[in-house]
Amino acid sequence: MSDIRETFAKRYADFLSPLAVRLEEHLVDLFRGYPRIDRITARAKAVDSFVAKAERKDNGNLKYDDPLNQIQDQLGARIIAFYKSDAEKIAQEVPKYFRHIESRKIVPDSEKEFGYEGIHFILFVPMELYDEQQPVIEFFELQVKTLFQHAWSEADHNLGYKPFAPLSRDQKRRLAFTAAQAWGADHVFDELCRQTVGGSGRFSGPSD
Protein backbone atom coordinates (compact mmCIF):
# COMPACT_ATOMS: atom_id res chain seq x y z
CA MET A 1 0.00 0.00 0.00
CA SER A 2 2.94 2.37 0.53
CA ASP A 3 3.50 2.34 -3.25
CA ILE A 4 -0.10 3.32 -3.83
CA ARG A 5 0.12 6.06 -1.21
CA GLU A 6 3.26 7.42 -2.84
CA THR A 7 1.87 7.26 -6.37
CA PHE A 8 -1.43 8.82 -5.35
CA ALA A 9 0.27 11.55 -3.29
CA LYS A 10 2.24 12.57 -6.39
CA ARG A 11 -0.89 12.42 -8.54
CA TYR A 12 -2.72 14.48 -5.92
CA ALA A 13 -0.10 17.21 -5.89
CA ASP A 14 0.82 17.31 -9.57
CA PHE A 15 -2.46 16.68 -11.30
CA LEU A 16 -5.60 16.36 -9.17
CA SER A 17 -5.30 19.46 -6.96
CA PRO A 18 -4.74 21.92 -9.84
CA LEU A 19 -7.42 20.14 -11.87
CA ALA A 20 -9.89 20.49 -8.98
CA VAL A 21 -9.35 24.26 -9.02
CA ARG A 22 -10.01 24.39 -12.78
CA LEU A 23 -13.05 22.14 -12.47
CA GLU A 24 -14.59 24.29 -9.74
CA GLU A 25 -14.09 27.43 -11.84
CA HIS A 26 -15.63 25.65 -14.83
CA LEU A 27 -18.71 24.56 -12.86
CA VAL A 28 -19.15 27.97 -11.25
CA ASP A 29 -18.99 29.63 -14.69
CA LEU A 30 -21.40 27.12 -16.15
CA PHE A 31 -24.04 27.46 -13.46
CA ARG A 32 -23.68 31.20 -12.81
CA GLY A 33 -27.11 32.78 -12.77
CA TYR A 34 -28.97 29.66 -11.74
CA PRO A 35 -31.40 30.38 -8.94
CA ARG A 36 -30.91 29.13 -5.41
CA ILE A 37 -27.54 27.42 -5.71
CA ASP A 38 -25.90 27.62 -2.31
CA ARG A 39 -22.41 26.56 -3.39
CA ILE A 40 -20.37 24.69 -5.95
CA THR A 41 -17.17 23.01 -4.86
CA ALA A 42 -14.61 20.61 -6.31
CA ARG A 43 -11.83 18.78 -4.51
CA ALA A 44 -9.16 16.18 -5.07
CA LYS A 45 -9.64 13.16 -2.82
CA ALA A 46 -7.36 13.43 0.22
CA VAL A 47 -4.45 10.98 0.21
CA ASP A 48 -5.51 9.28 3.49
CA SER A 49 -9.05 8.96 2.27
CA PHE A 50 -7.91 7.41 -1.01
CA VAL A 51 -5.64 4.92 0.74
CA ALA A 52 -8.42 3.97 3.19
CA LYS A 53 -10.76 3.33 0.25
CA ALA A 54 -8.09 1.37 -1.61
CA GLU A 55 -7.66 -0.87 1.44
CA ARG A 56 -11.37 -1.66 1.76
CA LYS A 57 -12.20 -5.34 1.80
CA ASP A 58 -15.15 -7.27 0.49
CA ASN A 59 -15.60 -10.81 1.90
CA GLY A 60 -12.01 -10.81 3.08
CA ASN A 61 -10.55 -9.78 -0.29
CA LEU A 62 -9.43 -6.34 -1.38
CA LYS A 63 -12.34 -4.61 -3.09
CA TYR A 64 -10.07 -2.93 -5.66
CA ASP A 65 -7.25 -4.82 -7.35
CA ASP A 66 -6.22 -1.71 -9.33
CA PRO A 67 -7.35 1.21 -7.12
CA LEU A 68 -5.48 3.92 -9.02
CA ASN A 69 -7.59 3.13 -12.08
CA GLN A 70 -10.75 1.78 -10.46
CA ILE A 71 -11.59 4.47 -7.91
CA GLN A 72 -13.58 7.06 -9.81
CA ASP A 73 -14.04 9.78 -7.19
CA GLN A 74 -10.38 10.84 -7.09
CA LEU A 75 -11.77 14.12 -8.29
CA GLY A 76 -15.17 15.10 -6.92
CA ALA A 77 -17.51 18.04 -7.18
CA ARG A 78 -20.73 19.06 -5.49
CA ILE A 79 -23.53 21.40 -6.38
CA ILE A 80 -25.67 22.24 -3.38
CA ALA A 81 -29.09 23.71 -4.17
CA PHE A 82 -31.57 25.19 -1.72
CA TYR A 83 -34.55 23.01 -2.60
CA LYS A 84 -35.31 19.57 -3.96
CA SER A 85 -36.86 20.70 -7.25
CA ASP A 86 -33.86 22.98 -7.87
CA ALA A 87 -31.49 20.03 -7.40
CA GLU A 88 -33.57 17.98 -9.83
CA LYS A 89 -33.52 20.73 -12.46
CA ILE A 90 -29.75 21.11 -12.12
CA ALA A 91 -29.40 17.34 -12.51
CA GLN A 92 -31.37 17.55 -15.77
CA GLU A 93 -28.95 20.18 -17.09
CA VAL A 94 -25.77 18.24 -16.27
CA PRO A 95 -25.89 15.72 -19.18
CA LYS A 96 -26.29 18.58 -21.66
CA TYR A 97 -22.86 19.91 -20.74
CA PHE A 98 -20.96 16.79 -19.64
CA ARG A 99 -20.81 13.29 -21.11
CA HIS A 100 -21.64 10.82 -18.36
CA ILE A 101 -21.05 7.11 -17.95
CA GLU A 102 -23.27 6.81 -14.89
CA SER A 103 -26.17 8.68 -13.32
CA ARG A 104 -27.91 7.55 -10.15
CA LYS A 105 -30.57 8.97 -7.92
CA ILE A 106 -29.62 7.52 -4.57
CA VAL A 107 -32.49 6.86 -2.19
CA PRO A 108 -32.89 4.31 0.60
CA ASP A 109 -33.76 0.78 -0.55
CA SER A 110 -37.06 0.57 1.28
CA GLU A 111 -39.86 3.10 1.67
CA LYS A 112 -39.62 2.47 5.42
CA GLU A 113 -36.00 3.62 5.60
CA PHE A 114 -34.42 7.04 5.79
CA GLY A 115 -30.78 7.67 4.98
CA TYR A 116 -28.46 9.07 2.35
CA GLU A 117 -30.06 10.79 -0.66
CA GLY A 118 -28.55 12.60 -3.58
CA ILE A 119 -28.04 12.54 -7.34
CA HIS A 120 -24.65 11.23 -8.43
CA PHE A 121 -22.97 11.33 -11.81
CA ILE A 122 -19.71 9.92 -13.10
CA LEU A 123 -18.69 12.40 -15.79
CA PHE A 124 -15.84 12.76 -18.24
CA VAL A 125 -13.49 15.58 -17.28
CA PRO A 126 -14.11 18.17 -20.06
CA MET A 127 -11.30 18.30 -22.62
CA GLU A 128 -10.58 21.98 -22.04
CA LEU A 129 -9.56 21.33 -18.44
CA TYR A 130 -6.42 19.30 -19.11
CA ASP A 131 -3.43 19.59 -21.42
CA GLU A 132 -2.34 15.96 -21.60
CA GLN A 133 -3.23 13.80 -24.60
CA GLN A 134 -4.04 10.94 -22.21
CA PRO A 135 -4.98 12.30 -18.77
CA VAL A 136 -4.22 10.19 -15.67
CA ILE A 137 -7.90 10.22 -14.78
CA GLU A 138 -10.80 10.37 -17.20
CA PHE A 139 -13.70 10.90 -14.82
CA PHE A 140 -14.92 12.87 -11.86
CA GLU A 141 -17.86 12.35 -9.58
CA LEU A 142 -20.49 15.07 -9.36
CA GLN A 143 -23.02 15.06 -6.55
CA VAL A 144 -26.10 17.24 -6.74
CA LYS A 145 -27.83 17.66 -3.39
CA THR A 146 -30.10 19.92 -1.38
CA LEU A 147 -28.79 21.82 1.63
CA PHE A 148 -30.44 19.32 3.98
CA GLN A 149 -29.16 16.27 2.06
CA HIS A 150 -25.68 17.77 2.16
CA ALA A 151 -25.82 18.64 5.86
CA TRP A 152 -27.07 15.19 6.76
CA SER A 153 -24.49 13.34 4.66
CA GLU A 154 -21.62 15.38 6.12
CA ALA A 155 -22.68 14.64 9.69
CA ASP A 156 -23.40 11.00 8.84
CA HIS A 157 -19.97 10.65 7.27
CA ASN A 158 -18.33 12.18 10.30
CA LEU A 159 -20.21 10.04 12.82
CA GLY A 160 -21.08 6.91 10.94
CA TYR A 161 -17.79 5.85 9.33
CA LYS A 162 -15.56 5.34 12.34
CA PRO A 163 -14.11 1.83 12.00
CA PHE A 164 -12.79 1.81 15.57
CA ALA A 165 -16.22 2.36 17.12
CA PRO A 166 -19.13 0.86 15.19
CA LEU A 167 -22.43 2.57 15.92
CA SER A 168 -24.93 0.82 18.15
CA ARG A 169 -28.42 -0.04 16.91
CA ASP A 170 -29.84 2.89 18.87
CA GLN A 171 -27.25 5.30 17.43
CA LYS A 172 -28.01 4.09 13.89
CA ARG A 173 -31.70 4.58 14.58
CA ARG A 174 -31.07 8.15 15.72
CA LEU A 175 -29.09 8.84 12.55
CA ALA A 176 -32.01 7.49 10.53
CA PHE A 177 -34.30 9.79 12.54
CA THR A 178 -32.23 12.84 11.53
CA ALA A 179 -32.34 11.64 7.92
CA ALA A 180 -36.14 11.51 8.17
CA GLN A 181 -36.17 15.06 9.51
CA ALA A 182 -33.90 16.24 6.68
CA TRP A 183 -36.19 14.49 4.19
CA GLY A 184 -39.23 16.17 5.76
CA ALA A 185 -37.57 19.58 5.78
CA ASP A 186 -36.70 19.22 2.08
CA HIS A 187 -40.29 18.41 1.20
CA VAL A 188 -41.76 21.25 3.26
CA PHE A 189 -39.29 23.84 1.97
CA ASP A 190 -39.83 22.73 -1.59
CA GLU A 191 -43.57 23.09 -1.15
CA LEU A 192 -43.16 26.50 0.47
CA CYS A 193 -40.88 27.61 -2.34
CA ARG A 194 -43.47 26.65 -4.93
CA GLN A 195 -46.26 28.38 -2.97
CA THR A 196 -44.35 31.62 -2.39
CA VAL A 197 -41.80 32.36 -5.09
CA GLY A 198 -43.35 29.78 -7.38
CA GLY A 199 -40.04 28.08 -7.99
CA SER A 200 -39.18 31.10 -10.08
CA GLY A 201 -35.72 31.92 -11.36
CA ARG A 202 -33.98 31.34 -14.61
CA PHE A 203 -33.66 27.69 -15.47
CA SER A 204 -33.09 28.09 -19.14
CA GLY A 205 -29.59 26.60 -18.98
CA PRO A 206 -26.14 27.42 -17.76
CA SER A 207 -24.75 30.89 -18.06
CA ASP A 208 -21.36 31.81 -19.39
Partner: protein
Protein backbone atom coordinates in the same frame (compact mmCIF):
# COMPACT_ATOMS: atom_id res chain seq x y z
CA UNK B 1 2.36 -0.79 -32.53
CA UNK B 2 2.29 -4.09 -34.42
CA UNK B 3 -0.97 -5.49 -35.71
CA UNK B 4 -1.20 -8.86 -33.94
CA UNK B 5 -4.68 -10.34 -34.54
CA UNK B 6 -7.26 -9.93 -37.28
CA UNK B 7 -10.72 -11.43 -37.48
CA UNK B 8 -13.26 -10.89 -40.21
CA UNK B 9 -17.04 -11.42 -40.30
CA UNK B 10 -19.61 -11.24 -43.06
CA UNK B 11 -22.46 -9.10 -41.74
CA UNK B 12 -25.85 -9.15 -43.47
CA UNK B 13 -28.73 -6.74 -42.92
CA UNK B 14 -30.72 -8.07 -39.96
CA UNK B 15 -32.48 -5.09 -38.42
CA UNK B 16 -36.00 -5.99 -37.29
CA UNK B 17 -35.49 -9.64 -38.27
CA UNK B 18 -36.83 -11.98 -35.63
CA UNK B 19 -34.34 -14.68 -36.53
CA UNK B 20 -30.80 -13.57 -37.16
CA UNK B 21 -28.79 -15.39 -39.80
CA UNK B 22 -25.62 -17.18 -38.75
CA UNK B 23 -22.51 -15.08 -39.15
CA UNK B 24 -19.45 -16.52 -40.83
CA UNK B 25 -16.14 -15.41 -39.40
CA UNK B 26 -12.49 -16.30 -39.64
CA UNK B 27 -9.06 -15.33 -38.44
CA UNK B 28 -7.03 -13.53 -41.09
CA UNK B 29 -3.37 -14.62 -41.45
CA UNK B 30 -0.73 -12.06 -40.49
CA UNK B 31 0.96 -12.32 -43.87
CA UNK B 32 -0.07 -11.74 -47.47
CA UNK B 33 -1.84 -9.05 -49.46
CA UNK B 34 -4.92 -8.75 -47.23
CA UNK B 35 -2.69 -8.26 -44.19
CA UNK B 36 -0.70 -5.60 -46.05
CA UNK B 37 -3.94 -3.84 -46.99
CA UNK B 38 -5.25 -3.87 -43.43
CA UNK B 39 -2.02 -2.81 -41.74
CA UNK B 40 -2.41 0.91 -42.64
CA UNK B 41 -6.05 0.78 -41.54
CA UNK B 42 -4.77 -0.26 -38.12
CA UNK B 43 -1.75 2.03 -37.96
CA UNK B 44 -3.51 5.21 -39.17
CA UNK B 45 -6.82 4.65 -37.39
CA UNK B 46 -6.32 7.51 -34.91
CA UNK B 47 -5.75 9.95 -37.77
CA UNK B 48 -8.58 8.68 -39.94
CA UNK B 49 -11.10 8.56 -37.12
CA UNK B 50 -11.87 12.20 -36.42
CA UNK B 51 -14.85 12.07 -34.10
CA UNK B 52 -14.22 11.79 -30.36
CA UNK B 53 -16.87 9.46 -29.04
CA UNK B 54 -17.84 7.94 -25.69
CA UNK B 55 -19.94 4.93 -24.76
CA UNK B 56 -23.30 5.74 -23.19
CA UNK B 57 -24.45 4.25 -19.88
CA UNK B 58 -27.31 1.74 -19.67
CA UNK B 59 -30.88 3.04 -19.92
CA UNK B 60 -31.21 2.99 -16.12
CA UNK B 61 -28.05 5.12 -15.75
CA UNK B 62 -25.84 2.20 -14.65
CA UNK B 63 -22.19 2.20 -15.69
CA UNK B 64 -22.69 -0.49 -18.27
CA UNK B 65 -22.64 -0.52 -22.06
CA UNK B 66 -23.26 -3.74 -23.92
CA UNK B 67 -21.15 -2.76 -26.93
CA UNK B 68 -18.19 -1.83 -24.71
CA UNK B 69 -18.64 -5.15 -22.89
CA UNK B 70 -18.50 -7.02 -26.22
CA UNK B 71 -15.37 -5.14 -27.33
CA UNK B 72 -13.61 -5.82 -24.02
CA UNK B 73 -14.57 -9.52 -24.18
CA UNK B 74 -13.05 -9.63 -27.66
CA UNK B 75 -9.83 -7.93 -26.52
CA UNK B 76 -9.53 -10.43 -23.67
CA UNK B 77 -10.24 -13.53 -25.77
CA UNK B 78 -9.20 -12.52 -29.29
CA UNK B 79 -11.15 -15.37 -30.87
CA UNK B 80 -13.84 -15.87 -33.49
CA UNK B 81 -16.57 -16.53 -30.92
CA UNK B 82 -16.14 -13.22 -29.07
CA UNK B 83 -15.70 -11.35 -32.36
CA UNK B 84 -18.92 -12.88 -33.63
CA UNK B 85 -20.79 -11.27 -30.70
CA UNK B 86 -19.69 -7.87 -32.02
CA UNK B 87 -20.67 -8.82 -35.58
CA UNK B 88 -24.09 -9.91 -34.28
CA UNK B 89 -24.62 -6.46 -32.72
CA UNK B 90 -23.79 -4.88 -36.06
CA UNK B 91 -26.09 -7.24 -37.97
CA UNK B 92 -29.00 -6.44 -35.65
CA UNK B 93 -28.83 -2.72 -36.51
CA UNK B 94 -28.03 -3.07 -40.22
CA UNK B 95 -30.87 -2.40 -42.65
CA UNK B 96 -31.08 -3.44 -46.27
CA UNK B 97 -30.17 0.12 -47.25
CA UNK B 98 -26.83 -0.24 -45.48
CA UNK B 99 -26.51 -3.66 -47.05
CA UNK B 100 -23.90 -6.34 -46.76
CA UNK B 101 -20.64 -5.48 -45.04
CA UNK B 102 -17.38 -7.07 -44.03
CA UNK B 103 -16.43 -6.37 -40.43
CA UNK B 104 -12.76 -6.43 -39.45
CA UNK B 105 -11.51 -6.51 -35.89
CA UNK B 106 -7.84 -5.61 -35.59
CA UNK B 107 -5.83 -5.61 -32.37
CA UNK B 108 -2.28 -4.94 -31.24
CA UNK B 109 -0.49 -4.57 -27.93
CA UNK B 110 2.62 -2.68 -26.94
CA UNK B 111 4.01 -1.83 -23.49
CA UNK B 112 0.76 -2.86 -21.83
CA UNK B 113 -1.39 -0.70 -24.09
CA UNK B 114 -3.94 -2.51 -26.22
CA UNK B 115 -5.44 -1.02 -29.35
CA UNK B 116 -8.59 -2.23 -31.09
CA UNK B 117 -9.80 -1.09 -34.48
CA UNK B 118 -13.33 -1.98 -35.61
CA UNK B 119 -13.96 -1.31 -39.28
CA UNK B 120 -16.74 -2.02 -41.72
CA UNK B 121 -16.10 -2.30 -45.43
CA UNK B 122 -19.38 -1.98 -47.38
CA UNK B 123 -20.17 -4.40 -50.22
CA UNK B 124 -20.17 -3.03 -53.72
CA UNK B 125 -20.19 -4.37 -57.24
CA UNK B 126 -17.24 -3.95 -59.58
CA UNK B 127 -15.89 -4.88 -62.97
CA UNK B 128 -12.75 -6.94 -63.27
CA UNK B 129 -10.76 -6.27 -66.41
CA UNK B 130 -7.95 -8.67 -67.31
CA UNK B 131 -5.68 -8.32 -70.29
CA UNK B 132 -4.54 -11.62 -71.76
CA UNK B 133 -2.66 -12.04 -75.04
CA UNK B 134 -3.78 -8.63 -76.30
CA UNK B 135 -7.41 -9.41 -75.50
CA UNK B 136 -9.44 -7.93 -72.75
CA UNK B 137 -11.69 -10.01 -70.51
CA UNK B 138 -14.21 -8.13 -68.45
CA UNK B 139 -16.21 -9.71 -65.70
CA UNK B 140 -18.88 -8.41 -63.32
CA UNK B 141 -18.06 -8.98 -59.69
CA UNK B 142 -20.57 -8.95 -56.84
CA UNK B 143 -19.71 -8.74 -53.17
CA UNK B 144 -16.61 -6.67 -53.58
CA UNK B 145 -15.77 -5.03 -50.27
CA UNK B 146 -14.24 -1.61 -50.60
CA UNK B 147 -12.88 1.04 -48.29
CA UNK B 148 -15.46 3.38 -49.74
CA UNK B 149 -14.80 7.09 -49.41
CA UNK B 150 -18.41 7.72 -48.52
CA UNK B 151 -19.65 4.73 -46.55
CA UNK B 152 -16.57 3.17 -44.90
CA UNK B 153 -16.81 3.22 -41.12
CA UNK B 154 -14.34 2.61 -38.34
CA UNK B 155 -13.70 3.12 -34.65
CA UNK B 156 -10.53 2.88 -32.59
CA UNK B 157 -10.02 2.36 -28.88
CA UNK B 158 -6.86 2.01 -26.85
CA UNK B 159 -5.86 1.77 -23.21
CA UNK B 160 -4.19 -0.20 -20.46
CA UNK B 161 -7.00 -0.52 -17.93
CA UNK B 162 -10.46 -1.95 -18.50
CA UNK B 163 -11.64 0.04 -15.46
CA UNK B 164 -10.47 3.44 -16.63
CA UNK B 165 -9.99 3.12 -20.38
CA UNK B 166 -12.06 1.96 -23.33
CA UNK B 167 -14.91 4.32 -22.40
CA UNK B 168 -13.94 6.77 -25.09
CA UNK B 169 -12.56 6.31 -28.58
CA UNK B 170 -12.53 7.84 -32.02
CA UNK B 171 -14.81 7.07 -34.92
CA UNK B 172 -14.83 7.58 -38.65
CA UNK B 173 -18.23 7.93 -40.21
CA UNK B 174 -18.53 9.91 -43.44
CA UNK B 175 -22.32 9.67 -43.30
CA UNK B 176 -22.75 11.47 -39.99
CA UNK B 177 -23.82 14.71 -41.63
CA UNK B 178 -26.50 12.87 -43.60
CA UNK B 179 -29.92 14.31 -42.96
CA UNK B 180 -31.39 10.80 -42.95
CA UNK B 181 -31.44 10.03 -39.26
CA UNK B 182 -30.97 6.29 -39.69
CA UNK B 183 -27.85 6.70 -41.83
CA UNK B 184 -26.40 9.20 -39.38
CA UNK B 185 -27.20 7.10 -36.33
CA UNK B 186 -26.28 3.65 -37.68
CA UNK B 187 -22.61 3.37 -36.76
CA UNK B 188 -22.04 5.55 -33.69
CA UNK B 189 -25.39 5.67 -31.95
CA UNK B 190 -26.92 2.30 -32.83
CA UNK B 191 -24.00 -0.08 -33.29
CA UNK B 192 -21.46 1.44 -30.89
CA UNK B 193 -24.18 2.78 -28.54
CA UNK B 194 -22.10 5.90 -28.20
CA UNK B 195 -22.33 9.63 -28.72
CA UNK B 196 -19.87 12.46 -29.19
CA UNK B 197 -17.55 12.91 -26.24
CA UNK B 198 -18.53 16.57 -26.13
CA UNK B 199 -22.30 17.06 -25.82
CA UNK B 200 -23.87 19.52 -28.27
CA UNK B 201 -24.54 22.30 -25.78
CA UNK B 202 -21.03 22.00 -24.31
CA UNK B 203 -19.30 22.24 -27.70
CA UNK B 204 -21.56 25.08 -28.84
CA UNK B 205 -21.03 27.01 -25.60
CA UNK B 206 -17.26 26.55 -25.93
CA UNK B 207 -17.38 28.00 -29.45
CA UNK B 208 -19.70 30.86 -28.47
CA UNK B 209 -17.44 31.86 -25.58
CA UNK B 210 -14.34 31.75 -27.79
CA UNK B 211 -16.07 34.01 -30.31
CA UNK B 212 -17.30 36.37 -27.60
CA UNK B 213 -13.94 36.53 -25.84
CA UNK B 214 -12.29 37.27 -29.18
CA UNK B 215 -14.54 40.22 -29.98
CA UNK B 216 -14.28 41.54 -26.42
CA UNK B 217 -10.51 41.21 -26.09
CA UNK B 218 -9.14 41.75 -29.58
CA UNK B 219 -7.54 45.09 -30.43
CA UNK B 220 -7.78 44.41 -34.19
CA UNK B 221 -10.72 46.17 -35.91
CA UNK B 222 -10.63 43.61 -38.75
CA UNK B 223 -11.02 40.76 -36.24
CA UNK B 224 -14.01 42.48 -34.64
CA UNK B 225 -15.54 42.99 -38.08
CA UNK B 226 -14.97 39.32 -38.94
CA UNK B 227 -16.63 38.23 -35.72
CA UNK B 228 -19.65 40.41 -36.42
CA UNK B 229 -19.86 38.77 -39.86
CA UNK B 230 -19.55 35.28 -38.34
CA UNK B 231 -22.36 36.04 -35.91
CA UNK B 232 -24.52 37.19 -38.79
CA UNK B 233 -23.81 34.08 -40.86
CA UNK B 234 -24.31 31.77 -37.89
CA UNK B 235 -27.95 32.88 -37.68
CA UNK B 236 -28.76 30.47 -40.50
CA UNK B 237 -26.71 27.57 -39.24
CA UNK B 238 -28.82 24.52 -38.48
CA UNK B 239 -28.27 21.77 -35.92
CA UNK B 240 -25.44 19.72 -37.43
CA UNK B 241 -22.24 17.84 -36.64
CA UNK B 242 -19.31 20.23 -36.93
CA UNK B 243 -16.08 21.37 -35.27
CA UNK B 244 -14.92 24.95 -34.55
CA UNK B 245 -12.26 24.57 -37.24
CA UNK B 246 -14.82 23.50 -39.84
CA UNK B 247 -17.18 26.37 -38.94
CA UNK B 248 -14.38 28.85 -39.60
CA UNK B 249 -13.36 27.00 -42.79
CA UNK B 250 -16.92 27.17 -44.03
CA UNK B 251 -17.06 30.95 -43.59
CA UNK B 252 -13.55 31.49 -45.00
CA UNK B 253 -12.52 33.37 -41.89
CA UNK B 254 -9.22 35.25 -42.18
CA UNK B 255 -6.18 33.65 -40.55
CA UNK B 256 -5.71 36.46 -38.05
CA UNK B 257 -9.26 36.07 -36.75
CA UNK B 258 -9.03 32.29 -36.79
CA UNK B 259 -5.81 32.44 -34.74
CA UNK B 260 -7.39 34.75 -32.18
CA UNK B 261 -10.44 32.52 -31.81
CA UNK B 262 -8.21 29.47 -31.56
CA UNK B 263 -6.15 31.12 -28.81
CA UNK B 264 -9.25 31.07 -26.61
CA UNK B 265 -9.47 27.27 -26.84
CA UNK B 266 -7.87 25.39 -23.94
CA UNK B 267 -6.83 21.73 -23.91
CA UNK B 268 -5.60 19.34 -26.58
CA UNK B 269 -7.79 18.85 -29.65
CA UNK B 270 -10.70 21.05 -28.59
CA UNK B 271 -10.47 23.19 -31.72
CA UNK B 272 -10.93 20.10 -33.94
CA UNK B 273 -13.45 18.41 -31.68
CA UNK B 274 -16.75 17.56 -33.37
CA UNK B 275 -20.07 18.14 -31.66
CA UNK B 276 -23.67 18.70 -32.64
CA UNK B 277 -24.11 22.45 -33.05
CA UNK B 278 -27.11 23.76 -31.08
CA UNK B 279 -28.28 27.14 -32.49
CA UNK B 280 -30.17 28.24 -29.34
CA UNK B 281 -27.14 27.63 -27.17
CA UNK B 282 -24.98 29.73 -29.47
CA UNK B 283 -27.31 32.70 -29.53
CA UNK B 284 -27.81 32.51 -25.76
CA UNK B 285 -24.18 33.46 -25.16
CA UNK B 286 -24.07 36.19 -27.79
CA UNK B 287 -27.50 37.64 -27.24
CA UNK B 288 -26.52 41.31 -27.01
CA UNK B 289 -24.10 43.18 -29.22
CA UNK B 290 -22.60 46.47 -28.06
CA UNK B 291 -20.54 48.89 -30.08
CA UNK B 292 -18.61 51.77 -28.61
CA UNK B 293 -17.91 55.00 -30.45
CA UNK B 294 -14.94 57.29 -29.77
CA UNK B 295 -17.27 60.06 -28.59
CA UNK B 296 -18.21 57.92 -25.58
CA UNK B 297 -21.47 56.47 -26.93
CA UNK B 298 -22.26 52.80 -26.40
CA UNK B 299 -25.02 51.24 -28.46
CA UNK B 300 -26.52 47.87 -27.58
CA UNK B 301 -29.14 45.71 -29.27
CA UNK B 302 -30.04 42.04 -29.61
CA UNK B 303 -27.31 40.54 -31.82
CA UNK B 304 -29.71 39.02 -34.34
CA UNK B 305 -31.47 42.40 -34.90
CA UNK B 306 -28.55 44.78 -34.50
CA UNK B 307 -28.30 45.60 -38.20
CA UNK B 308 -32.06 46.22 -38.42
CA UNK B 309 -32.21 48.42 -35.31
CA UNK B 310 -29.24 50.66 -36.09
CA UNK B 311 -28.70 52.27 -39.45
CA UNK B 312 -25.08 53.12 -40.18
CA UNK B 313 -24.15 55.86 -42.63
CA UNK B 314 -20.54 56.60 -43.58
CA UNK B 315 -19.79 60.30 -43.04
CA UNK B 316 -16.10 60.21 -43.89
CA UNK B 317 -14.64 57.02 -45.26
CA UNK B 318 -11.01 58.03 -44.83
CA UNK B 319 -11.37 58.85 -41.11
CA UNK B 320 -13.89 56.11 -40.38
CA UNK B 321 -16.49 58.55 -39.10
CA UNK B 322 -20.02 57.19 -39.23
CA UNK B 323 -23.46 58.36 -38.21
CA UNK B 324 -25.57 55.74 -36.48
CA UNK B 325 -29.26 56.30 -36.09
CA UNK B 326 -32.32 54.56 -34.76
CA UNK B 327 -35.81 55.60 -33.76
CA UNK B 328 -38.41 54.48 -31.25
CA UNK B 329 -39.89 55.31 -27.86
CA UNK B 330 -37.73 55.30 -24.72
CA UNK B 331 -38.99 52.54 -22.44
CA UNK B 332 -36.17 52.28 -19.93
CA UNK B 333 -33.04 54.04 -18.78
CA UNK B 334 -30.19 52.46 -16.78
CA UNK B 335 -27.00 53.45 -15.05
CA UNK B 336 -24.08 51.11 -14.60
CA UNK B 337 -20.61 51.14 -13.19
CA UNK B 338 -17.92 52.67 -15.41
CA UNK B 339 -14.62 51.07 -16.38
CA UNK B 340 -12.44 53.32 -14.22
Amino acid sequence: MELSTIHSFLVRPGKSDETQQDISGAAVPLTGKLFEMLKPVFVHAETECQHNIAFLPAEDGAQNNECRNALIAYIKNSDVASGRAIAKRLQEVTTRRSGLGLLFLLTGNENGVTKLVVSRFPADSAILAEEKHKTLNVEFLERVFMKSATTYKAAVYSGSSFAKDFWKGKADDKQLANSDRYIADYWIREFLRSDFLTPGQAGTRRFALAVRNTINQSSEPSVKADIAAIQHLMKNMRKQVISPKRILDRFNVADVTRDEIRSHYQGVGTFDDNFTFVPDEFSKHLAVQTIEIDNGAQLSAPTDKFEEIFETEVVNGSTGIVRISTQGRIVDRRLRKGRK
